[in-house]
């Protein structure tokens, strides 16, 4: 475990050194503040709105941005070392391949989680300071849930990036696959579900299956975790409308997200053990 933490610590510091973490913190803070300030512009006014309304928009945006960042931050974790010629050196040290991948996964997840916490935390602090709205305990819970689920969503895609990184022969191919992975999970998966919905005309079997199909994509699970908690009128009417009659126990959603964070990572571990170096 010590070895894993040593590797993780190095990756975490590298992400700081490469300005990834700082850039993401600023990006998250600006996104949150921008949405909070201009979120009700359509209604003819600007200024900080309620946390809940802001969170709903942030969820939609985060579902696009966070997977991309998770993939970008880690797609070269292993293949990059192979390209740079440092992989053989690392493997000549007393650590297993599993420890190397695990360290990289944890380090990047940590950096992403730190940026999420710092960025959105900063935004919340600024909103509180400039125009303190009356916050309920519920609202704070929603913020906490959002930050936690955003970090988990990031971990899902860092895991996927590790898998891509282990399985590809060079960095450019890994980058290409990472983009395809992003497009597939963020855009194509939902499009396919919509197409299914339209084609089948909403028959009862499909209506029963549909809520479970959503669980196959961590991006949709992330939306469900946050939007179903925020309730009606929170923004994403399509999603909440389609799943309105289906109650998702929060614990189940949490477990599904955790599974999606662990599964690609575990596959990466398995695949890397069998790779020739």
């Amino acid at each position: 475990m010590n070895t894993v933490l040593t590797v993780a610590g190095k990756e975490f510091r590298d992400d700081f050194r490469n300005r990834w973490t700082v850039a993401l913190t600023i990006l998250f803070a600006l996104l949150a503040l921008g949405i909070a300030w201009f979120g009700s512009a359509a209604a003819g006014r600007v200024g900080f709105t309620s946390f809940d309304a802001t969170l709903a928009s942030l969820t939609t945006l985060g579902a696009f941005v966070i997977p991309l960042i998770g993939l970008l931050i880690a797609y070269d974790a292993i293949v990059g070392e192979r390209d740079d010629g440092t992989l053989l050196l690392m493997l000549s040290y007393p650590l297993s391949r599993g420890q190397l991948v695990a360290g990289k996964f944890l380090g990047h997840c940590g950096a992403l989680a730190a940026a999420t916490l710092a960025g959105f935390g900063l935004a919340v602090a600024i909103m509180q300071w400039m125009q303190p709205p009356a916050q309920t305990l519920q609202a704070w819970l929603h913020i906490g849930r959002f930050i936690l689920s955003a970090s988990l969503l990031g971990a899902c895609f860092v895991g996927l990036a590790c898998l891509i990184s282990v399985q590809t022969a060079d960095k450019s191919r890994a980058a290409g696959l990472a983009l395809i992975g992003w497009l597939a999970s963020v855009v194509l998966f939902d499009l396919a579900l919509l197409a299914l919905l339209v084609v089948s005309g909403g028959n009862p079997v499909e209506r029963a299956v549909y809520p479970y199909l959503l669980l196959l994509n961590p991006v949709d699970v992330f939306r469900l975790v946050n939007l179903t908690a925020l309730g009606d009128g929170a923004g994403n009417d399509l999603l909440t409308g389609m799943t309105a009659h289906h109650g998702y126990p929060p614990l189940l959603l949490g477990l599904v997200m955790l599974t999606w964070a662990v599964l690609p990572f575990a596959w990466a571990l398995f695949a890397f053990r069998r790779k020739e170096v």
Binding site: T6, D14, G85, L88, L91, Y93, P94
Partner: protein, 309 residues
């Protein structure tokens, strides 16, 4: 346990290709052994097997008394300098060694001493990205020595080093030997390597052509010594004729020297004779070099695989 590395009928196959084809030899402890061979001879495969990064397809391999395949803890006792060593460009030399020392559970106090030892103390806090090739190679040597390993594997360690830096590197290799550590040094710079190694493993196309001490190998190959003669003025043609009559055909080189080859066994009588010859102004003896041995081995189907390097 007398051997740092020992292998028997060791084979590594990738599909139909045999990277190593059933080789047997050993590297005694406390010796510096050269691992020689062209590209594709199987040197890198052997090093990866010794490091336990790949599994043998067949045969037996023991490194420091145990099988290295996936023996992570064993690697704490081995130092390795990869060919064309590259490191994380954004770290400083000191940060890299600190990180690697933690991975190897080596005393952190070693870092500063090693940087000093390889002559990088002045650049320890600079980014590795700003290092020259020679500096990176020296940093590579420093990391290979972390944790005072019993066995040090150096893959083409002098590539990109200037002569001064190469001498420094071989000085450190000498210190390692004096300290009782075993060193396996892969290189294709035979002439440069020769004075610094006790023995050699010579590979070609996955087969072991020769293994043993340099003396024993030279003895076995019975390669002739080369004599270079500087004839007195206008005496060259007469000397050529006399040597020819004596059964020692010589070659007149463009620089005016006569070159002839003398069997190892008959070297001394010929030398005595030539020293007494008034036509000879100067004489130089060139013992067979490792390079010649290598060429000789490469030219025919000779094989001199002994039990031990």
């Amino acid at each position: 346990m007398n051997h740092a590395i020992e292998f028997e009928a060791l084979a590594k196959r990738y599909g139909a290709l045999a990277a190593l084809d059933g080789i047997s030899a050993c590297v005694p402890r406390g010796r510096v052994i050269g691992l020689l061979g062209h590209n594709g001879a199987g040197k890198s495969t052997l090093i990866k097997l010794i490091l336990g990064l790949i599994a043998p397809s067949d045969g037996r391999l023991e490194v420091l008394g145990q099988s290295p395949w996936r023996a992570h803890a064993l690697r704490r006792r081995i130092g390795y300098l990869p060919e064309n060593a590259t490191f994380y460009a954004s770290l400083s030399g000191r940060e890299l060694l600190d990180y690697l020392a933690r991975l190897k559970q080596a005393p952190r106090g070693q870092v500063a001493a090693l940087l000093e030892r390889v002559g990088l103390a002045h650049a320890a806090d600079r980014r590795i990205g700003t290092y020259s090739k020679g500096m990176r190679q020296r940093l590579g040597l420093a990391q290979a020595l972390l944790g005072s390993p019993e066995l040090v594997l150096l893959d083409e360690p002098t590539t990109g080093l200037d002569p001064q830096a190469s001498r420094e590197l071989y000085r450190i290799v000498g210190e390692l030997r004096a300290d009782g550590r075993s060193v396996l040094l892969s290189s294709h710079l035979l002439a440069e390597l020769e004075p610094h190694i006790d023995g050699a493993l010579i590979l070609r196309q996955g087969r072991l052509l020769a293994a043993g001490s340099l003396d024993a190998l030279g003895e076995q190959a019975a390669l002739p010594a080369r004599l270079l003669l500087r004839p007195r003025e206008d005496a060259a043609s007469g000397l050529l004729v006399r040597l020819d009559a004596r059964g020692l055909p010589a070659l007149l080189r463009p620089d005016g020297l006569l070159e002839l080859q003398v069997p190892r066994a008959g070297k001394l009588p010929v030398l005595r004779e030539l020293l007494a010859d008034p036509a000879v102004a100067d004489l130089d003896v060139r013992e067979p070099t490792l390079a010649q041995l290598y060429d000789w081995l490469g030219a025919g189907q000779h094989s001199m695989a002994e039990a031990c390097a």
